[in-house]
């Protein structure tokens, strides 16, 4: 019997396609170190205003948020559109709690400096941002998780809109500064900061997805009735997925606030959720590496590669038609339409759902911990 067990455990440990897990972990660690080193090196040689840093920073933040949405949409099968609401809560929590007392008079100029006169350290505020978003996720989950598919999407979308309205409510001005923007809170300078924070958060989500609970989430996604018959408490597990997703969206929101150096509720519209949903769909629903690759591509396209379309271009004295502000979005939409038409399952989606690839894919996710997208990031930087 003992021999049998040994054999079985060995079978579990041995990966059919070769590499020893230790080797894989080491390769992943080396690649990650190289990536961070590469970014550090870029920061030394390029001016800080370079567009590359904008793309890298925003791409890292969006990949965290996209992965958090993918946890719900792709891994638990809950079609939620509340991500902008959770990001808003995270961003506001972080901003409100970290504005230094001496700057408060200027920020809250219409509200006598607000009612908060302390500032928390950045890591504590970020954690609280996640926790508050998670709490909101829990509360909204209580009624909403009874709904399915489209109805769940509508309800969560409504939640995000309501949160946006509440934050702008005048009576809450002393805390949220109502519809005025919040600024002067501590921000990051180095591109390494969002990479490290988002990387850690995505690592945690990967660990969760590959744990027993992650398997339960996938079971719910594949067949709710069977999952329930296997003793999985549907409501509890859906709540867990929603709270985890909201928590990381909250942290993502805090990072976004830091990146933008100011927060205004008006920016967190449903269009923002759609952007993130688009990233998830392009990357492949149910693929973490896909979400990461897609968010860098998306941000690079919208911030960098297609920027020139918005400017008036004159070639040999001839002004090209259409090239004016807003044309970028037209081209962008067409590109997205092509992607959706010809990569119906997203960039990574087919790999994940290919018949023999799924287990290998999850294992690669697990061992490589985003090995592939990190390479992609490096490629984007170089």
């Amino acid at each position: 019997m003992a021999k049998d067990n040994e054999k079985i455990i060995q079978q579990n440990m041995l990966k059919p396609d070769g590499l020893n897990p230790k080797v894989k972990y080491s390769i992943a660690a080396v690649l990650l170190a190289l990536l961070l080193l590469g970014i550090w090196w870029l920061e030394q040689i390029l001016p800080p205003s370079s567009i590359i840093f904008t793309v890298l920073k925003k791409g890292a933040i969006y990949s965290l948020i996209a992965v958090s949405l993918n946890l719900l949409n792709g891994f638990t099968g809950l079609f939620s559109l509340g991500q902008a609401g959770f990001m808003l809560i995270g961003a506001y929590t972080y901003a409100v709690l970290t504005i230094p007392p001496e700057s408060r008079a200027a920020v809250y100029m219409y509200y006598d400096g607000g009612i908060i006169d302390f500032a928390l350290p950045v890591p504590v505020a970020m954690l609280l941002a996640g926790c508050l978003a998670g709490l909101c996720g829990f509360l909204i989950g209580l009624p909403v998780l009874r709904l399915k598919s489209d109805y769940l999407a509508i309800a969560t979308l409504g939640f995000a809109e309501i949160i946006r309205a509440i934050v702008q409510y005048d009576k809450l001005g002393p805390i949220t500064n109502a519809s005025n923007l919040l600024r002067s809170f501590p921000v990051f300078r180095s591109t390494l900061f969002p990479f490290i924070v988002a990387g850690l958060c995505i690592a945690v989500i990967c660990l969760l997805i590959n744990s027993s609970y992650g398997r339960a989430f996938k079971a719910i996604r594949d067949d709710e009735i069977a999952a329930e018959a296997m003793g999985i408490n549907l409501f509890a597990h859906k709540e867990m997925a929603l709270v985890t997703s909201a928590f990381f969206a909250g942290i993502g929101g805090a990072l976004l606030a830091m990146f933008q150096m100011m927060v205004q509720a008006r920016a967190f519209t449903s269009a923002m959720t759609y952007e993130i949903l688009l990233i998830v769909v392009i990357g492949g629903i149910g693929s973490i590496t896909g979400s990461i690759i897609a968010s860098f591509l998306f941000i690079a396209c919208s911030e960098w590669w297609l920027r020139f379309l918005d400017e008036v271009q004159i070639i040999n004295g001839f002004q090209l038609p259409f090239m004016r502000s807003g044309f970028r979005m037209v081209v962008f939409s067409i590109i997205i339409m092509f992607v959706v038409l010809f990569y119906r399952k997203g960039i990574m989606g087919t790999k994940e759902f290919s018949i023999d690839g799924i287990y290998k894919f999850f294992r690669r996710l697990f061992t490589g911990e985003g090995k592939k997208p990190k390479e992609q990031k490096g490629g984007g930087a170089a």
């Binding site: 079978q11 027993s212 067949d223 009735i225 069977a226 003793g231 759902f353």
Partner: protein, 282 residues
């Protein structure tokens, strides 16, 4: 008489004006294989769904291992439109969700196979181990449940090896042949460590040889896991071969019960059910 494990008492299930199951009472004793048969639409699967908590019965009670697990009486609108019997016999309303019932020790399979078709064979079985593992979402995420996880994996793998499916462990469940999917579904149900196994038409769509293999398989797991089996089945040879007792349902009501040979000679049963096959032969 051995110990009673499942006791269903006066179950009535009414959907709107339709009585799908009418005043059904039955018992399953420990170590028995009991079959529930009846023509299509007789209410067999509805009875299963009541026992497993998918539906809340309109009236009646279900006991498992001597403990009252489900009880209900017509309430609200249903109190007026109720067409069944035994009104007022039950005063309590006890209900359990399917996952709680699985945890108590009743596992089931489905008429139309419900595997997690995108996951591997191994993961399918592993998921069934999730509910009994001592862990929470934090310990699982940060791998503090390492021993628990190893135990789950080992047990799932052992189960697959015993069921001769070890070599399929990395195959995607949805890509397997039909007969193996059926067996996997049973293996997955076994992984929840049940005392009572409910099989909803396990031999549906199987050829005679596969049916014979399944018959042996059911007997084998019953003995190896010390199970009681309660099953819905249409294949009469399978039913007659392995059941200790048979219940016959027609239009929601029990029309006969007894030993296999009694049932096969019962005129009401022949009229309602077996008679059809006689006609087909002629």
């Amino acid at each position: 008489m051995s110990e009673n494990i499942l006791h269903v008492e006066n179950i009535t299930m009414q959907f709107g004006g339709v009585v799908a199951v009418n005043n059904l009472s039955l018992d399953v004793n420990r170590g028995e294989i009991v079959a529930l048969i009846g023509p299509n639409g007789a209410g067999k699967t509805t009875a299963f769904n009541v026992i497993t908590g998918v539906y809340e019965p309109t009236n009646g009670r279900v006991d498992f291992c001597g403990e009252n697990m489900i009880q209900n009486y017509p309430k609200g609108k249903m109190a007026k439109s109720y067409k069944g019997e035994n009104l007022g016999l039950y005063k309590n309303s006890i209900s359990k969700t399917p996952d709680q019932i699985t945890k108590l020790g009743i596992a089931r399979t489905f008429q139309n196979i419900r595997l997690f078709s995108g996951l591997t064979v191994f993961e399918n079985v592993l998921i069934a181990k999730h509910m009994r593992a001592r862990q929470n979402i934090f310990s699982a995420t940060f791998r503090l449940n390492y021993k628990e996880e190893q135990r789950m994996r080992r047990e799932a793998m052992e189960l697959l090896e015993i069921q001769d499916m070890g070599h399929l462990k990395d195959d995607i469940a949805g890509s397997l042949p039909y007969g193996i999917q059926r067996r996997l579904e049973i293996a997955r149900a076994l992984a929840t460590e049940p005392q009572l196994l409910l099989l909803d038409e396990p031999a549906a769509g199987m050829n005679p040889q596969e049916t014979q293999e399944l018959t042996d398989f059911i007997l084998e797991i019953k003995n190896n896991y010390n199970l009681s089996v309660f099953m819905i089945e249409h294949h009469m040879d399978l039913v007659m071969q392995i059941s200790n007792r048979i219940y016959v349902l027609d239009f929601g009501s029990l029309i006969a019960q007894g030993l296999p040979e009694e049932i096969s000679n019962n005129p009401r049963v022949i009229e309602a059910y077996l008679g059809v096959s006689d006609d087909a032969e002629n």
